[in-house]
Symmetry: C2
Subunit: 141 residues, 2 copies
Amino acid sequence: MRIGELSERTGTPRRLLRYYEEQGLIAADRCPNGYRDYDERFVDRILQIRGLLDAGLPTRIIKQILPCLDKPRIIHFSDATPEMIATLEHERDRMTERIGCLVRNRDAIAEYLETVLSNDRARAAAARQASAGASAGASEG
Amino acid sequence: MRIGELSERTGTPRRLLRYYEEQGLIAADRCPNGYRDYDERFVDRILQIRGLLDAGLPTRIIKQILPCLDKPRIIHFSDATPEMIATLEHERDRMTERIGCLVRNRDAIAEYLETVLSNDRARAAAARQASAGASAGASEG
DNA sequence: TCGAACCATCACATTGATGTGAAGGTCAAG
DNA sequence: CTTGACCTTCACATCAATGTGATGGTTCGA
């Protein structure tokens, strides 16, 4: 598929697909005429990249961890230098921290929403109650 | 405490503490001489802000969700407009997505590391084995 | 009273992820 | 053969978060 289709299917501006390639995150084939040529797997790959970018990882780091995430990981045994291992361990820990932070704050938001919404429900119930009482002739003043 | 101490205790440049204030994320008291004056609670607050920034949330959003995260949330019932509720629900969902993405990729990294490291252990064991065999006089060509 | 170590504001620079548009090549359809 | 919808590269603009430095006020101890 060409860049336009990949762009549509991933909701990613062409500009950024070229940018990700420039940053070494993806490597597209080229048609004889110079057009970029992507296969199906790029769809998930782009989505993964965008998710990680959105989660705060810079392209530099994404570039490093992406190769380790392919299914047949047999190939990558030899090129696992000690520095690479250290980087991966560090990023893994950083991601765990991020996850903890996001979970804490998301749960706090969820709890807040739960409180506010249940409060709304109670108020709505009270309003129904009051209107029922009013239609029965009573009023509280 | 003044800005220097808060900076040290949170590992955050003074420049950024002022920036966060400018963005409305925090509101510091002022001493008579104009110096910013922070109390203990700012330490956690700054750490929370930095965590969220690191997790990809922009200051604009952090500013919106922070007030909902304070412990005595009784005050915030009235100012919970429908738009605010919608924003919070949206951000909660976005955070859940981010969490999912981070968890998936972190686990993949962890699994990769596990594989590589266990491979290393096996190789080390094999090396020990070989050296023991060599010291016993045998060799495999 | 002087200097060091704080603090203040202001302003300009940088970096990474993006937006946008120009200038031009390719290709299928009319 | 031209038009339109793709594609290419290149370049400059923007935005948010951050770095850095200038200029000057406050406080405190020698």
